[in-house]
């Protein structure tokens, strides 16, 4: 224990390179980290994507050394030392230009390590955290997450509260919502409807009924939107719909189709977003177009974003920044547009970025924590692919952990098997399990609807459904 006092941490201003150099020594071994982004990468818990990118710490000792150094970095540094140049990247510009200096003032005297200790203290309560959200930059929050154990990520996230509204209220304490995801490999209307009915009768779909269309055909997107909307109106379901095609496709049809939420995959660098075929002004255009439809009844949170660690490296657009920090930067893009839902699709891509259940679980808890602290309505697609080293037991663990952490929503996929996207997510049953063991309820408006439809009783128990049930007609 006393060995701690043998390590010394010094930060020297490196005049030659014009930026800070970070160093410490452990048992006579000197560790030097040239810049903040290197420090962040080396301080990251092990994951395959950072190894692939050549950014991970070489040893566990080096990782701890980086964490020791990172703990002493003042939060202010993050405003001065950008990890991707301001001139080259519009996401950096967004982060810097929209940073709320007033909120930041409250924490501007802290180091990353002091922030960690404060976040865990009892004075960091829900309201204070909400007020501070705009004062945090993604990099600060990514940094602090790297110093946190899984239990810290859970305990702090549990204290956050991010509530959004469109036709219902998502994110209240004691609530757990689900995106109903009724995908079909040919976008067959009847097939999709069948999965939707199944989900609704299992109490799923309050966050959104969201279809990934197999094709990116605008015509098909219109049909799908009409179909969900008809159903929603017919049964007076207090929820919102979404077809997850490319934002340009939605923009093309937004005047002819009943568009509730606008979807887009986003990432943490301009260059990655470009590889997704988007940029901030396109998102702005879509956001405004959707707002102009005025379809929300109790609120105007209208965007649905998906993210996930690894996409930047995959697009050769990572600027040697570790994947978790880049993920947090994607949240800066998201929060610009007051989204209804932000979903980190954590195990979706594959083992090259998150190798196994352990890495997927860690990444999910980080993403959920970072998003929440930055003020986002985070949900998690608790998922894995068949080429990763993970299975249902890992997902059960993550599901339960995220429930305790207060995740806003999870996916509802029939039997956890997405037959179009080819991966395993959470089932309608999984959500019921989680609600039961943690005593959680769906969104209040949706809950009232479930009562009325005799799908659920006040104790949260599913009621037996007869074949004469309204939804089966």
């Amino acid at each position: 224990m006393c060995t701690f006092f043998l390590y010394f941490t010094e930060q020297i201003n490196n005049i030659i390179y014009g930026n800070m150099s970070y160093r410490t020594s452990i048992r006579n071994k000197v560790y030097v980290f040239n810049d903040l982004k290197t420090l962040l990468a080396k301080a990251s818990p092990l994951r395959s994507g950072d190894v692939l990118a050549g950014l991970a710490a070489d040893s566990y000792e080096e990782r701890v050394a980086a964490q020791i150094v990172l703990a002493d970095v003042p939060l202010k540094n993050f405003l001065h030392e950008t990890i991707i140049p301001y001139e080259e990247d519009e996401v950096t510009r967004l982060i810097i230009d929209e940073h709320d200096a007033t909120s930041f003032l409250l924490i501007s005297h802290l180091t990353v390590g002091e922030l960690r200790d404060w976040l865990l203290s009892d004075t960091a309560d829900t309201i204070t955290l909400q007020k501070l959200a705009k004062g945090f930059t993604p990099e600060m929050i990514a940094a602090v997450s790297k110093l946190m154990r899984n239990q810290d990520l859970i305990a702090v996230a549990q204290k956050c509260g991010v509530v959004t509204r469109f036709r219902n209220t998502i994110g209240l304490k004691g609530r757990l919502s689900t995106r109903l995801q009724p995908n079909h490999p040919t976008d067959d209307m009847k097939g999709i409807a069948a999965s939707m009915i199944d989900g609704l009768l299992y109490g799923s779909g309050d966050a959104v009924i969201g279809i990934n269309p197999a094709t990116d055909s605008p015509a098909s997107a219109v049909s799908l939107l009409n179909m969900i909307d008809d159903l929603r109106i017919k049964y007076a379901i207090p929820t919102q719909s979404c077809v997850l095609c490319h934002v340009t496709t939605i923009l093309q049809i937004i005047q002819q189709a009943p568009v509730d939420l606008v979807f887009q995959s986003i990432a943490g660098t301009e260059k990655t977003n470009k590889s997704f075929g988007i940029n901030l002004s396109m998102l702005k255009e879509a956001h405004e177009a959707a707002l102009s439809l005025q379809r929300g009844t109790i609120g105007n949170n209208i965007m649905y974003f998906e993210t996930g660690q690894g996409s930047s490296l995959s697009a050769n657009a990572n600027y040697n920044v570790d994947q978790q920090t880049l993920e947090a930067r994607a949240y800066a893009v998201a929060r610009k547009f007051n989204p209804m839902l932000v979903n980190t699709v954590v195990g979706f891509i594959g083992p090259e970025y998150l190798f196994d259940g352990k890495q997927i679980i860690r990444a999910a808890l980080e993403d959920h924590f970072c998003g929440k602290l930055l003020g986002l309505p985070m949900g998690v697609d608790i998922c894995y692919t068949n080429h990763a080293e993970a299975d249902q037991d890992d997902m059960d663990n993550l599901l339960t952990l995220l429930g305790v952490a207060g995740c806003n929503f999870i996916m509802g996929v029939p039997g956890a098997d997405d037959i179009m996207l080819n991966y395993q997510s959470t089932s309608f049953h999984d959500a019921l399990y989680l609600r039961k063991v943690l005593n959680k309820k769906p969104s209040p408006e949706f809950e009232a609807w479930l009562f009325k439809q005799n799908i659920m009783d006040e104790h949260g128990n599913q009621l037996p459904i007869q074949s004469s049930h309204l939804l089966l007609q």
Binding site: K190, S195, I197, D198, T215, S217, K274, P414, I419
Partner: protein
């Protein structure tokens, strides 16, 4: 009260008939909040098989024989990912031809082509083995107006390897058929990615994708229709990717 323990605790779902419309795991029934064991075991078995599919091999022998009818040279190439485990961990290597393959291709021709067709294992060689010939049978006759490059089969490959192949062969457009990652209900789903002016370093906004091609998914004739539409439009507009939309009319009509 205690004597009521029944052999069957499952509460079945009244909407079993909806299963006719989808392969999705709907109407599973439940016990408490849980999925019935029978369904869990079925899921696990599918999981075993999906995992095996990741390690399936491109049947280059069989494919070569089948491709003979198109009267085109056929190349069998390898990416820089030497093995399946490396392939899974190093997508970067799966996007590059290995040297031998590169040389083979460079030596092959000095012509220019309109379209190069590539068959890549991706995450499920099974998908290619099972589906690609059927679709090529429909597609090739419709491409007679174009100069078609030699057909390239490539192993341990990612989508973007089509950029390197297309540029070496000086093709205006590359069309790569590649095995999508295997799912529980379909370990043999084929994807097609189309890239105009394939060049090393392109990213995905420059491509179009036709996904879920298989008998239980997007059927061969409809897939062919879509691909043909996209090829025509791509050639006409001289681009591909997000600015090229699939307006071929939705599948349903």
């Amino acid at each position: 009260m205690l004597s009521n323990i029944s052999k069957n605790s499952i509460q079945p779902d009244a909407w079993h008939s909806l299963k006719a419309f989808t392969a999705a795991r709907i109407a599973l029934g439940k016990t408490g909040t849980a999925i019935p064991l029978k369904e869990i075991l079925d899921f696990k078995l599918a999981f075993a098989h999906a995992r095996d599919a990741v390690y399936s091999l491109l049947d280059t022998q069989q494919l070569s024989t089948e491709l003979e009818i198109f009267n085109l040279p056929v190349y069998s190439l390898q990416s820089n990912a030497d093995s399946r485990p490396i392939y899974l961990q190093r997508p970067d290597l799966g996007r590059q031809l290995n040297n031998e393959s590169k040389n083979k291709l460079q030596d092959s021709s000095n012509e220019q082509f309109d379209i190069v067709i590539i068959l890549a294992d991706g995450l499920s060689a099974e998908a290619v083995n099972k589906n690609v010939f059927s679709i090529l049978q429909l597609l090739m006759p419709a491409l007679q107006q174009y100069a078609i490059a030699p057909i390239v089969m490539v192993q341990n490959a990612r989508v973007a390897i089509g950029d390197e192949i297309g540029s070496i062969l000086k093709a205006k457009l590359s069309l790569i058929f590649i095995g999508e990652r295997p799912g529980l209900s379909s370990s043999d789903s084929l994807g097609a990615y189309l890239t105009f002016n394939p060049t090393i370093g392109l990213t995905d906004e420059s491509r179009n994708c036709i996904s879920n091609i298989r008998p239980e998914g997007l059927q061969y004739d409809l897939a062919t229709e879509k691909i043909l539409y996209l090829i025509q439009e791509s050639m006409r507009l001289q681009l591909s990717g997000v600015r090229l939309k699939d307006n071929a009319g939705s599948i349903e009509n």
